[in-house]
Amino acid sequence: MTIEIRMRSIYRAAHHTLPAKATRFQRRADEITSGIEPMVSELALAGNHPVAGELADLSVELFVHLREMVRTLNDSATALDAIADDFVAVDEEAAAWFEQNQHYAGDPELATEPTAPEV
């Protein structure tokens, strides 16, 4: 096992894999918002029917869980990045590898927070 495999596996997860997964959840959460808002507003025109209320409640629940996925994945990426940085700070081999892989310097680019539906 080389230091390269170790460091690359952690930094890639922190900088690429987890943010990418988080972004996919963020997009779907946003899609819930973009879907439910017009649906509820159109159903409001149908006599303010209470089915819109149930759809809104259900969508908000789903949105909150998907947003929690985004946050957990983002937090995990940040934590992994910090773990790797800590390791670089105490391990000479890791520090040498990091010197050659400066694109992992700095914080991971995290998924943005999805926009909650206003329903």
């Binding site: 997860a13 089915v51 149930e54 759809l55 259900l58 390791f87």
Partner: protein, 371 residues
């Protein structure tokens, strides 16, 4: 917008109702002319009159005139020919007055207001929204499919990066166990979310279909009422030909379109939007209702029993209110009836399912990660 089709129909209907009432008032005048008592020196002469309108006609009726033997004694200086012309003028004025009274825009406003709940929602916007929600369901379905990678690093289906991470986790950090538990649990959570997203998308697609179908039905009904008003005006024309079709021979509703009613999950009239259909899209233009709301139950239109302007007006108003009520009932069905079928939550109505999801929020949350 469907109102762009409805507005001209409402205007046509109001105009024709005004013409029908005009005919009715003209006949009231002619009837009174034929029945009012005659004083000495007066008689009834046959006159030829024109009833105006889009479906106007000429008719013969008796009018009160000076008897021939008394003409030379009449001090008014008005001839019988002039009396016939005066009656024609009265017919024209009264008829125009009726038509104008129905053409002020008030009737259209009343009809618009009574049918607002049906025509105001935009099914095309709802269809786009349902598609967005369907996208979420389709994506979640991918997350629970084999090979999605949401599994333990020890599992043979784990992606290589996760295996590498597991093998190379630095000893300097806290335990990574909570991360792998979270990761392994994502597909289970996505399975739950898939049920919610499917229900959201399905109900949205069904609501879209219901609104779309009832709007189509509203246009059909308004067209039928317009045609019925024209038919009534033509019956007035036929009557002067002594066909006997009017006023005793009411037409019986035949192939006239009825009101789409009785839409319900329980009766199967509203089909559950099946998960497999998420592969396709909800399209109003392609006729979303053709498979979601198959035939539907048809309610007889009250207006089809009417022949007078007043009855036609009130009958259509009743029909519009019925359509609005049927929309409410159909949406009630989507909310309170269980869709059934083999779906995991098929035994629960949307109302019950949503309440369960809210009550079990903790169980639906992703597992916490402590690194």
């Amino acid at each position: 917008m469907v109102i762009e089709q409805l507005d001209p129909l409402f205007t046509e209907i109001a105009g024709y109702l005004g013409e029908i009432e005009g005919n009715e008032r003209v006949w009231s005048i002619l009837d009174s002319e034929e029945t009012r008592p005659l004083q000495e020196g007066w008689t009834r002469e046959p006159g030829y009159f024109t009833v105006p309108g889009t479906y106007g006609f000429d008719t013969q009726a008796l009018y009160v005139a000076v008897a021939p033997a008394y003409v030379q004694d009449d001090p008014s200086g008005v001839t019988n020919a002039e009396r016939e012309q005066l009656l024609q003028q009265l017919i024209t004025d009264v008829w125009n007055e009726s038509r104008d009274a129905w053409s002020t825009g008030t009737i259209e406003t009343v009809y618009r207001s009574a049918s607002r709940n049906v025509w105001e929602p935009a099914p095309s916007r709802m269809a786009a929204a349902a598609n967005d929600l369907g996208d979420v369901a389709r994506w979640l379905a991918d997350q629970v499919a084999p090979g999605s990678g949401w599994t333990s690093p020890q599992n043979g289906e784990a992606h290589q990066w996760l295996v590498d991470l597991h093998q190379n986790w630095p000893a300097t950090s806290q335990s990574s166990q909570s991360f792998y538990e979270f990761w392994d649990d994502v597909s289970d959570k996505c399975s739950l979310y898939l049920h919610a997203a499917t229900r959201l998308a399905a109900t949205s697609a069904q609501a879209t279909a219901v609104v779309n179908d009832l709007q189509t039905n509203l246009v059909e009904a308004a067209t039928a009422v317009r045609d019925r008003a024209v038919e009534t005006l033509k019956q007035w024309q036929a009557w002067k030909d002594s066909s006997g079709a009017w006023p005793t021979g009411r037409t019986v509703p035949g192939d006239a379109p009825g009101i789409l009613g009785g839409l319900s999950l329980a009766t199967g009239a509203i089909g559950l939007f099946p998960p497999a259909a998420f592969l396709g899209f909800v399209s109003v233009a392609a006729g979303v209702g053709s498979y979601l709301v198959p035939a539907g139950e048809k309610l007889e239109m009250a207006v089809m029993e009417a022949v007078t302007a007043s009855d036609l007006y009130n009958g259509f108003l009743t029909d519009l209110k019925t359509m609005s009520d049927e929309l409410t009932k159909a949406l009630d069905s989507l909310r309170t009836e269980a869709p059934g079928g083999d779906a995991t939550f098929g035994h629960q109505s949307l109302q019950a399912f949503t309440a369960d999801v809210v009550a079990n929020r903790h169980d639906w949350s992703p597992l916490p990660v402590n690194l």
